[in-house]
Protein backbone atom coordinates (compact mmCIF):
# COMPACT_ATOMS: atom_id res chain seq x y z
CA UNK A 1 0.00 0.00 0.00
CA UNK A 2 1.20 3.49 -0.81
CA UNK A 3 1.12 5.92 2.11
CA UNK A 4 1.66 9.67 1.71
CA UNK A 5 2.51 12.13 4.49
CA UNK A 6 2.14 15.90 4.29
CA UNK A 7 3.15 19.05 6.16
CA UNK A 8 4.45 18.52 9.72
CA UNK A 9 3.58 14.83 9.57
CA UNK A 10 5.95 14.53 6.62
CA UNK A 11 8.78 16.35 8.38
CA UNK A 12 8.31 14.46 11.66
CA UNK A 13 8.19 11.03 10.03
CA UNK A 14 10.98 12.12 7.71
CA UNK A 15 9.54 10.98 4.40
CA UNK A 16 6.80 12.07 2.03
CA UNK A 17 5.70 8.61 0.95
CA UNK A 18 6.43 4.92 1.28
CA UNK A 19 5.21 1.56 0.06
CA UNK A 20 4.17 -0.77 2.84
CA UNK A 21 2.98 -4.36 2.83
CA UNK A 22 0.18 -4.43 5.34
CA UNK A 23 0.48 -7.11 8.03
CA UNK A 24 -2.46 -9.48 8.38
CA UNK A 25 -5.25 -8.00 10.48
CA UNK A 26 -4.81 -4.38 9.39
CA UNK A 27 -8.18 -3.80 7.77
CA UNK A 28 -9.33 -0.26 8.57
CA UNK A 29 -7.89 3.25 8.78
CA UNK A 30 -8.04 2.91 12.55
CA UNK A 31 -6.01 -0.35 12.44
CA UNK A 32 -3.40 1.40 10.30
CA UNK A 33 -3.09 4.36 12.70
CA UNK A 34 -2.74 1.94 15.63
CA UNK A 35 -0.07 -0.06 13.86
CA UNK A 36 2.10 2.69 12.31
CA UNK A 37 3.69 3.81 15.64
CA UNK A 38 5.28 0.33 15.91
CA UNK A 39 7.43 1.23 12.91
CA UNK A 40 9.67 3.53 14.94
CA UNK A 41 10.03 6.48 17.27
CA UNK A 42 9.51 9.00 14.48
CA UNK A 43 6.12 7.43 13.70
CA UNK A 44 5.17 7.14 17.37
CA UNK A 45 6.10 10.79 17.92
CA UNK A 46 4.29 12.08 14.83
CA UNK A 47 1.16 10.07 15.53
CA UNK A 48 0.78 11.32 19.10
CA UNK A 49 -1.46 14.03 17.64
CA UNK A 50 -3.49 11.45 15.71
CA UNK A 51 -6.82 12.96 16.78
CA UNK A 52 -5.89 15.99 14.68
CA UNK A 53 -4.99 14.03 11.58
CA UNK A 54 -7.05 13.70 8.44
CA UNK A 55 -7.07 10.61 6.24
CA UNK A 56 -7.69 10.29 2.53
CA UNK A 57 -8.10 6.99 0.67
CA UNK A 58 -7.54 7.29 -3.06
CA UNK A 59 -7.77 11.07 -2.74
CA UNK A 60 -11.09 11.16 -0.90
CA UNK A 61 -11.54 11.97 2.76
CA UNK A 62 -12.07 8.79 4.79
CA UNK A 63 -13.37 7.85 8.23
CA UNK A 64 -11.55 5.79 10.83
CA UNK A 65 -13.66 2.70 10.25
CA UNK A 66 -13.21 2.74 6.48
CA UNK A 67 -11.62 -0.40 4.97
CA UNK A 68 -8.18 -0.16 3.37
CA UNK A 69 -6.63 -2.41 0.74
CA UNK A 70 -3.11 -3.05 -0.54
CA UNK A 71 -3.94 -1.33 -3.80
CA UNK A 72 -5.06 1.90 -2.08
CA UNK A 73 -3.26 5.21 -1.93
CA UNK A 74 -3.64 6.35 1.66
CA UNK A 75 -2.68 9.87 2.72
CA UNK A 76 -2.30 11.10 6.29
CA UNK A 77 -2.07 14.81 6.98
CA UNK A 78 -2.82 17.65 9.42
CA UNK A 79 -5.87 19.91 8.99
CA UNK A 80 -5.52 21.86 5.77
CA UNK A 81 -4.52 25.53 5.84
CA UNK A 82 -4.73 26.76 2.26
CA UNK A 83 -6.74 29.62 0.83
Amino acid sequence: MKILYFAWLRTEIGKSSEDISLPAGIQTVNDLLNWLPERGNNYAQALQKRDLLRIAINQDYADLDQKIHDSDEVAIFPPVTGG
Binding site: A7, F77, G82, G83
Partner: protein
Amino acid sequence: MIRVQSEDFDLSLEVRKLTEENPAIGAVTAFIGLVRDIAGGTEISSMTLEHYPGMTEKMLREIETEAHQRWNLDASLIIHRYGQLAPGDQIVLVVTCSKHRKAAFESCEFLMDFLKTKAPFWKLEETPEGGKWVDARDGDTKATERWLKS
Protein backbone atom coordinates in the same frame (compact mmCIF):
# COMPACT_ATOMS: atom_id res chain seq x y z
CA MET B 1 -12.67 25.88 -14.06
CA ILE B 2 -9.84 25.10 -11.66
CA ARG B 3 -6.09 25.63 -11.83
CA VAL B 4 -3.35 24.64 -9.40
CA GLN B 5 -0.14 26.41 -10.32
CA SER B 6 3.03 27.96 -8.96
CA GLU B 7 2.83 30.99 -11.30
CA ASP B 8 1.08 34.21 -10.41
CA PHE B 9 -2.21 35.19 -12.07
CA ASP B 10 -3.70 38.40 -13.44
CA LEU B 11 -7.07 39.28 -12.01
CA SER B 12 -8.30 41.43 -14.93
CA LEU B 13 -7.28 38.84 -17.49
CA GLU B 14 -8.97 35.97 -15.66
CA VAL B 15 -12.21 37.89 -15.16
CA ARG B 16 -12.22 39.02 -18.78
CA LYS B 17 -11.71 35.45 -20.04
CA LEU B 18 -14.66 34.27 -17.93
CA THR B 19 -17.07 36.99 -18.96
CA GLU B 20 -16.20 38.11 -22.51
CA GLU B 21 -18.07 35.31 -24.26
CA ASN B 22 -21.18 35.64 -22.13
CA PRO B 23 -22.99 39.02 -22.10
CA ALA B 24 -25.75 37.51 -19.93
CA ILE B 25 -23.38 37.86 -16.95
CA GLY B 26 -24.25 40.91 -14.87
CA ALA B 27 -22.47 40.16 -11.60
CA VAL B 28 -18.93 39.02 -10.87
CA THR B 29 -17.57 38.41 -7.39
CA ALA B 30 -13.84 37.81 -6.98
CA PHE B 31 -11.93 36.87 -3.86
CA ILE B 32 -8.16 37.22 -3.74
CA GLY B 33 -6.14 35.83 -0.85
CA LEU B 34 -2.77 37.48 -0.21
CA VAL B 35 0.24 36.47 1.90
CA ARG B 36 0.24 38.63 5.03
CA ASP B 37 3.53 39.85 6.49
CA ILE B 38 2.46 39.15 10.06
CA ALA B 39 0.99 35.94 11.47
CA GLY B 40 0.18 35.60 15.14
CA GLY B 41 2.43 38.54 15.94
CA THR B 42 5.46 37.08 14.15
CA GLU B 43 6.94 38.62 11.03
CA ILE B 44 7.01 36.40 7.95
CA SER B 45 9.81 36.53 5.41
CA SER B 46 8.21 33.98 3.10
CA MET B 47 5.55 31.30 2.96
CA THR B 48 5.67 27.92 1.25
CA LEU B 49 2.49 26.20 0.18
CA GLU B 50 2.62 22.41 0.05
CA HIS B 51 -0.25 20.48 -1.50
CA TYR B 52 -1.37 16.97 -2.47
CA PRO B 53 -1.27 16.88 -6.27
CA GLY B 54 -4.24 14.96 -7.62
CA MET B 55 -6.39 15.23 -4.52
CA THR B 56 -6.17 19.03 -4.65
CA GLU B 57 -7.63 19.15 -8.15
CA LYS B 58 -10.24 16.55 -7.24
CA MET B 59 -11.45 18.48 -4.18
CA LEU B 60 -11.51 21.83 -6.00
CA ARG B 61 -13.51 20.28 -8.82
CA GLU B 62 -15.96 18.78 -6.32
CA ILE B 63 -16.63 22.03 -4.49
CA GLU B 64 -16.94 23.93 -7.78
CA THR B 65 -19.50 21.37 -9.00
CA GLU B 66 -21.43 21.73 -5.76
CA ALA B 67 -21.50 25.55 -6.11
CA HIS B 68 -22.98 25.18 -9.59
CA GLN B 69 -25.63 22.83 -8.20
CA ARG B 70 -26.58 25.25 -5.44
CA TRP B 71 -26.52 28.52 -7.40
CA ASN B 72 -27.36 29.60 -10.91
CA LEU B 73 -23.83 30.42 -12.10
CA ASP B 74 -22.73 31.27 -15.61
CA ALA B 75 -19.04 30.72 -14.94
CA SER B 76 -16.55 30.19 -12.14
CA LEU B 77 -12.83 29.91 -11.60
CA ILE B 78 -10.63 28.71 -8.78
CA ILE B 79 -6.87 29.29 -8.99
CA HIS B 80 -4.67 28.19 -6.09
CA ARG B 81 -0.92 28.63 -6.08
CA TYR B 82 1.71 26.41 -4.44
CA GLY B 83 5.42 26.81 -3.75
CA GLN B 84 7.28 29.71 -2.16
CA LEU B 85 5.53 33.07 -1.90
CA ALA B 86 6.44 36.43 -0.37
CA PRO B 87 4.29 38.83 1.71
CA GLY B 88 1.85 40.62 -0.59
CA ASP B 89 1.86 37.77 -3.14
CA GLN B 90 -1.44 36.42 -4.41
CA ILE B 91 -2.26 32.91 -3.10
CA VAL B 92 -5.75 32.16 -4.27
CA LEU B 93 -8.39 33.51 -6.62
CA VAL B 94 -12.04 32.53 -6.65
CA VAL B 95 -14.34 34.15 -9.22
CA THR B 96 -18.06 33.51 -9.62
CA CYS B 97 -20.23 34.95 -12.39
CA SER B 98 -24.00 35.13 -12.42
CA LYS B 99 -26.87 37.20 -13.72
CA HIS B 100 -27.46 38.81 -10.33
CA ARG B 101 -25.20 39.63 -7.44
CA LYS B 102 -26.70 37.48 -4.68
CA ALA B 103 -25.70 34.21 -6.34
CA ALA B 104 -22.25 35.58 -7.18
CA PHE B 105 -21.56 36.74 -3.61
CA GLU B 106 -22.91 33.65 -1.87
CA SER B 107 -21.23 31.11 -4.11
CA CYS B 108 -17.87 32.89 -3.92
CA GLU B 109 -17.96 32.84 -0.13
CA PHE B 110 -19.12 29.20 -0.17
CA LEU B 111 -16.19 28.22 -2.41
CA MET B 112 -13.67 29.99 -0.17
CA ASP B 113 -15.10 28.41 2.99
CA PHE B 114 -14.95 24.91 1.52
CA LEU B 115 -11.55 25.47 -0.05
CA LYS B 116 -10.21 26.49 3.38
CA THR B 117 -11.33 23.26 5.04
CA LYS B 118 -11.25 20.68 2.22
CA ALA B 119 -8.50 21.52 -0.27
CA PRO B 120 -5.27 19.76 0.78
CA PHE B 121 -2.90 22.74 1.07
CA TRP B 122 -0.59 23.46 3.99
CA LYS B 123 1.21 26.71 4.74
CA LEU B 124 4.74 26.81 6.11
CA GLU B 125 5.72 30.28 7.31
CA GLU B 126 9.37 31.31 7.41
CA THR B 127 9.92 33.55 10.44
CA PRO B 128 13.04 34.84 12.25
CA GLU B 129 12.55 31.84 14.61
CA GLY B 130 12.50 29.34 11.73
CA GLY B 131 9.84 27.54 9.73
CA LYS B 132 6.43 27.16 11.33
CA TRP B 133 3.44 25.19 10.01
CA VAL B 134 0.30 27.26 10.19
CA ASP B 135 -2.42 25.92 12.48
CA ALA B 136 -5.92 25.46 11.15
CA ARG B 137 -8.42 28.04 12.42
CA ASP B 138 -11.56 26.91 14.26
CA GLY B 139 -13.36 29.77 12.52
CA ASP B 140 -12.79 28.10 9.16
CA THR B 141 -14.51 24.91 10.25
CA LYS B 142 -17.43 26.92 11.62
CA ALA B 143 -17.61 28.94 8.40
CA THR B 144 -17.94 25.70 6.44
CA GLU B 145 -20.54 24.20 8.77
CA ARG B 146 -23.03 26.99 8.14
CA TRP B 147 -23.37 25.78 4.52
CA LEU B 148 -24.34 22.23 5.52
CA LYS B 149 -27.93 21.49 4.66
CA SER B 150 -29.93 20.52 7.71
